[in-house]
């Protein structure tokens, strides 16, 4: 199908992007929490081919930074020694995809640390933190969207299929959730939680919270689809043949909702990534030193960082391809869904 190609392309792009983040340990040159106290707030380093004597090097290299004399925070390159770039270097230990232990990194340097995107206030590598931070933010988005869709479909299908008081009750509750100022709800919720929670607990808490507040919209959409689907002739026929509710839902009605659900998924994931970032930005996310895109941006709340260290903005750029990918996928799916539906209708008429 020609229409099918659109979303496949987007999906492939997203798969690659997620692959990079999932294998952050390999692509990141360093551990995200490792501090280099000699080099806080180091600007992104330059990659050189020509050394200070005008000699050309085939292998790209960098110069070690050192403090400019008489300053506390300004660095310059010390051009005495060339630090060549190496690929597939051994470094900090990590687990690939959380399973396979490894210590090989895509690139790095023999000695000295190379900061492609600069370092933060503790001398931690900004590139590594962006990659590792993506793991938290994206996983929170994906799990949150999964949770939301699961409860949304469950509630929406129940309301739409059974109707009556169940429908009334569930949809009023859904309206309540849509109207809730969720950010304030989350702030209030966090205040009740124990003082110190581990990063893993905090992470799942965020997922549950953003999943729990977001179910109303997909539930309403699913209900709409279910309402129209259950009046379709083939559903009525199946019911006439004595099909049970569970069978009808599983076999005939829920498949009808699939394009709505997929489109919703593609919209919800970036929305929830953003929700996680908002929470982390406000200090409600996973605690230090675990990075997330939101907490990476949190340092920009300070005026001094805002005007002094432009590379602290870079996590923003990391988000852009993901959002484009998801939104592109969503619109492609929507178009495809529309066509499919038309094709489907035509087929039904013929039958």
């Amino acid at each position: 199908m020609i229409q099918g190609r659109g979303w496949k392309r987007w999906l492939l792009t997203l798969a690659v992007l997620h692959g990079i983040i999932a294998c952050a340990g390999f692509f990141a040159p360093y551990d995200s929490a490792e501090q280099d106290r000699e080099h806080p707030h180091l600007p992104p380093m330059k990659i050189h081919f020509m050394d200070s004597h005008g000699r050309f090097h085939l292998r790209p290299f960098f110069y070690e930074p050192r403090l400019r004399e008489g300053t506390f925070e300004q660095f310059e390159e010390s051009t005495e020694e060339v630090q060549p770039f190496r690929f597939f270097v051994s470094g900090a230990r990590y687990r690939l995809l959380g399973l396979v232990p490894s210590h090989v990194h895509l690139f790095g340097a023999q000695d000295g640390r190379f900061y492609l995107l600069g370092s933060d206030a503790y001398g931690r590598d900004q590139l590594s933190r962006i990659l590792y931070g993506g793991q938290i933010s994206l996983l929170a988005g994906l799990l949150g969207a999964g949770l939301t869709l699961f409860s949304g479909v469950l509630i929406g299908a129940t309301a739409g299929y059974f109707g009556g008081w169940r429908d009334g009750l569930l949809m009023r509750v859904a309206e309540l959730f849509v109207a809730l100022p969720w950010l304030y709800l989350l702030l209030a919720l966090r205040a009740f939680l124990p003082l110190s929670v581990s990063p893993v607990q905090e992470f799942f808490l965020i997922v549950v919270v953003i999943g729990a507040v977001g179910w109303a919209r997909p539930a309403r959409l699913v209900r709409g689809v279910v309402l129209s689907a259950k009046e379709r002739d083939f559903v009525k026929a199946a019911r006439g043949f004595g099909a049970t509710d569970a069978y009808l839902l599983r076999r005939h009605i829920l498949p009808e909702t699939s394009s709505v659900i997929l489109t919703q998924a593609a919209i919800l994931v970036p929305q929830f990534v953003l929700a996680e970032m908002t929470l982390s930005f406000l200090g409600l996310g996973v605690p230090e030193p675990v990075p997330s895109w939101g907490s990476l941006l949190a340092s920009l709340q300070q005026y001094s960082t805002l005007v002094s260290y432009w590379w602290m903005y870079l996590p923003v750029l990391a988000i852009v391809p993901f959002f484009l990918g998801y939104l592109g996928l969503a619109s492609a799916l929507q178009q495809d869904g529309a066509t499919e539906k038309m094709v489907g209708r035509a087929g039904e008429d013929i039958w």
């Binding site: 001398g123 003082l195 605690p287 300070q302 002094s308």
Partner: protein
């Protein structure tokens, strides 16, 4: 009395300049003074640049002052305004020299036994409304300060040896203060105790309404003080305007009456970054309490102002563990952890594992000093030089932990974990104030330092008030990073911190009896230094206190930031000091070099 930054109590202080004594100086009336007979005025002469009359100084305050009543002022902005610019004390601590000097009292005598202080007032003193001041005003002032029903913030300070100070009038110019016990800090006692006008306040005092008097809404003619400025106008939510006190009792070497400035305007700017922006754009003339990051930003963009690093101040930041006795409500988890915390070896191990130099470099960008005791390099007279400044050493830390019965386990990933005698991993959380980025950063560095020991610490930033509540009331916390600022270099200033019954004895506050032998010894030494007459003896006692603190590590001292300030280039006589108020201590001498530039404002 110590101030926790961000907390209410603000050090008591007043601001004057460096002075040369003048026994009896007869000055010609300065402009704007009603032509009355002022023949017997004894003005205090200050050395310094001769300034120009006029101009208005604009300063930002973090919040609106809550009151203009010195009796009830506990919030930092109120105290900054009242004590900094509107009130005057009898004897004053010079913020530059850190020594006492005459103020409203031109001289004083101490009896041989150190119990009786005879203060002689300056001749011809007048309140800012023109009414003369005499011994009765002083008597009235101390009566209300000591009146229990008023709950004056100054009361604690005036109880020496468990008894209130007795005040007696000899004649119109002479007052005698009788102490129950000798007071080590001596006449420093009088610093910050502003003298109140009896003629304005006696009525509300007899009616029992004194604590409610003098709000921000008080009409300017109902307010009077002895400071360089008096109330002019208050616009709710916007600004507080003070004007020159024409009756002020100081002059420059040429006989010009101080202050030079016509007006002081305090504007209310709620956050530090906004204050920086206001200063940068030239809206405010002075800035203090700057973080090192903002200081760097302002230094880089210098336009028409100069940034000054006045050197280490008196703020000391520290990590402390919960050393309270586990009570009934203490969770078993916390009670288990408290066993580690109470082991002095454990605390020593943590102390020696912390990289203080890194804190200075990363948190303060080198604008600070690492500390191993509560006396910072900014305090010139009281530091114990014998306290070892031990560099970071993980080997030493491991040795201490081994002695205390801790061992290490290693997971397959190579992650090392410290475990106690019951094979439980050593984990704890460190509270920090969420509004103080510096201390959160310190905690994050400590977290990383301790990780190398196999100790898993977690940083928990928390709203300041709930943090203080946890530390001093509910006592449900494990460890905490805080800072204190002494208002004075004298050890008596921090009495509340070191005495075991003190409210700011943070690791185990307000004890009925000292919980440990070493806390009992500190109590004894602190009381000893309070009553010893000589500096050498007092220093000896306080040196021992510092040694005990270093041995027992109830507070693991980390670092002290420099006092970072900025001022417009056009301000004359500007000289930053490390005691509060860092830039306004000599406000009566500040002036604008170029009046034309100031007029543009």
């Amino acid at each position: 009395m110590v101030r926790m930054p961000g907390f209410s109590t603000f050090g008591r202080w007043l601001g004057y300049g460096m002075l040369t004594l003048s026994a009896a100086v007869f000055s010609r009336p300065a402009t704007g003074i009603p032509q009355q007979s002022r023949s017997a005025e004894e003005l205090l002469t200050l050395s310094g640049e001769i300034g120009k009359q006029g101009g208005r100084l604009v300063i930002s305050l973090r919040a609106e002052p809550k009151t203009l009543n010195p009796l009830t002022a506990v919030d930092a902005p109120s105290r900054e305004v009242i004590l900094g610019a509107m009130q005057a004390d009898l004897i004053h601590i010079n913020r530059a020299t850190q020594l006492t000097e005459p103020a409203l009292a031109k001289s004083w005598k101490v009896s041989a036994n150190g119990l009786q202080y005879t203060l002689t007032l300056r001749e011809g003193l007048r309140f800012s409304d023109g009414q003369p001041l005499d011994a009765d005003d002083v008597l009235f002032t101390f009566r209300v300060y000591l009146d229990e029903s008023i709950h004056a913030t100054q009361r604690d300070q005036l109880i020496v040896g468990g008894k209130p100070i007795a005040v007696r009038r000899v004649d119109a110019q002479t007052v005698v203060f009788q102490l129950a016990e000798t007071y080590g800090a001596g006449e420093r006692l009088f610093d910050g105790l502003g003298i109140l006008p009896r003629h304005l306040l006696e009525k509300s005092y007899t009616e029992g309404k004194l604590a409610q008097a003098w709000t921000l809404a008080t009409p300017p003619d109902q307010w009077a003080g002895l400071g360089p400025f008096r109330l002019k106008e208050y616009v709710a939510g916007q600004k507080l305007v003070l004007e020159r006190n024409p009756y002020y009792w100081k002059q420059d070497t040429k006989g010009n009456r101080l202050p030079y400035l016509d007006e002081m305007v305090f504007i209310f700017v709620p956050n530090a970054d906004a204050q920086v922006l206001r200063f940068q754009s030239g809206e405010t003339d002075l800035i203090s309490r700057l973080g090192s990051e903002n200081f760097s930003v302002l230094s880089r963009l210098q336009r028409g102002y100069t940034m000054t690093d006045a050197g280490p101040g008196l703020e000391y930041n520290f990590l402390f563990f919960n050393l309270n006795d586990p009570g009934e409500k203490t969770s078993p988890d916390l009670a288990r952890k408290m066993k580690w915390f109470r082991d002095v070896k454990f605390r020593q191990a943590i102390s020696v594992a912390i990289d203080r130099e890194a804190i200075v470099r990363l948190v303060y960008q080198g604008r600070g000093a690492a500390i191993w005791g509560p006396v910072t390099p900014g305090n010139h007279r009281w530091g114990n030089s014998a306290i070892p400044h031990s560099a970071r050493s993980l080997e030493k830390a491991r040795a201490f932990l081994k002695e205390a019965g801790f061992t290490w386990t290693t997971t397959a990933d190579g992650e090392i974990t410290l475990v106690d005698a019951d094979a439980k991993p050593v984990e704890f959380s460190i509270l920090t104030s969420s509004t103080n980025a510096d201390r959160t950063k310190m905690a994050a560095l400590i977290q990383d330092d301790l990780k190398q020991l196999g100790v898993h610490a977690q940083v928990v930033p928390m709203e300041f008030r709930s943090l203080i509540d946890r530390v001093t009331q509910t006592k449900e916390y494990e460890a905490c990073v805080l800072g204190l600022v002494s208002f004075d270099a004298d050890p008596t200033a921090d009495l509340n911190v070191w005495l075991s019954n003190g409210g700011t004895h943070l690791w185990n506050p307000s004890q009925a009896h000292p919980a440990t032998a070493w806390e009992a010894e500190i109590d004894k030494l602190m009381k000893q230094q309070l009553t010893s007459p000589s500096y050498e003896q007092r220093k000896q006692s306080f040196d021992r206190v510092q040694q005990i603190l270093a041995d027992n590590q109830p507070m693991i001292f980390l670092a002290s930031p420099d006092i970072l300030v900025g001022a417009k280039n056009s301000i004359g006589n500007f000289h930053a000091v490390v005691l509060e108020p860092y830039v306004l201590w000599n406000v009566e001498q500040l002036y604008f070099r170029n009046s034309a530039e100031n007029a543009r404002q």
